[in-house]
Symmetry: C2
Subunit: 136 residues, 2 copies
Amino acid sequence: MPAPAETTVANLETTWTIREIADDFGVTHRTVRHYEDLGLIAPERRGTTRVYRRRDRTRLALILRGKRLGFPLEEIRTIIDLYDRPRGKASQLEYVLSQIDDRRADLEQRRRDLDDALLELDRFEERCRQDLERLR
Amino acid sequence: MPAPAETTVANLETTWTIREIADDFGVTHRTVRHYEDLGLIAPERRGTTRVYRRRDRTRLALILRGKRLGFPLEEIRTIIDLYDRPRGKASQLEYVLSQIDDRRADLEQRRRDLDDALLELDRFEERCRQDLERLR
DNA sequence: GTATTGCTTTACGTTTACGTCAACGTCAAG
DNA sequence: CTTGACGTTGACGTAAACGTAAAGCAATAC
């Protein structure tokens, strides 16, 4: 009988170098370090070398998705901070919940824009297809 | 009996100054001129003064929506060009249709990202509400 | 041992998307 | 007729998001 606990531990303790995660996510190491400069990720150090773990990968994925959505890095940082912020007291939780509402409003505006753009694209394609039909 | 044709013509011929459309869309006149420098809009001139018409407003709306979606201005220009490109011949229409597919793929990726982000936000809010509940 | 490879920091360069003067033309109001 | 109010064209400034080049340490490869 194998010991899944051990492999789980091994997975959790798997580490990556800066070049490795950069390659994995299709960015340059310079980009990763830039995110660190801005405080979006904070890898451990073994001596002077950066050591990246699973949680760093999760963060990087969050950052890159935020970028695909067109958010500036500073705003992405506030989002990450929001997710990471300690929320032991009720007042802190209330604040976090209000922030969540703000973010949701933003995302839903984007979704409206996106759906509009897709609808327009559909109509435009339809017109093009009809034009093409008429040429035959 | 009123003459709707006249009011239609009047509407179509309504013009605006740079400051007016800028204010209407919540941007500065500098921004509008910047878009003109990049070839995203091309207002008429009465002498040296820019004269904006309905189609310029439509374009500006397109540009600003593109920006809210996080597209760079150069990419927005290619999109506008796509919509405006002459497509008399079949080969041109074929090309436009292929471009449409590319754009749709892009937009749908964004929608996936957006839906993921909204789902995460929902789950996070749920956790926060439960934490808040436990404090009572 | 030295050469290569990969990590590090420091620092300046670049592109995008405008902001911010400066200097000038023009037209209606006082 | 001059004073605003708005228009125009440069030209330079700036913030964000990295790119790039210089120079150094550290471990493995030969």
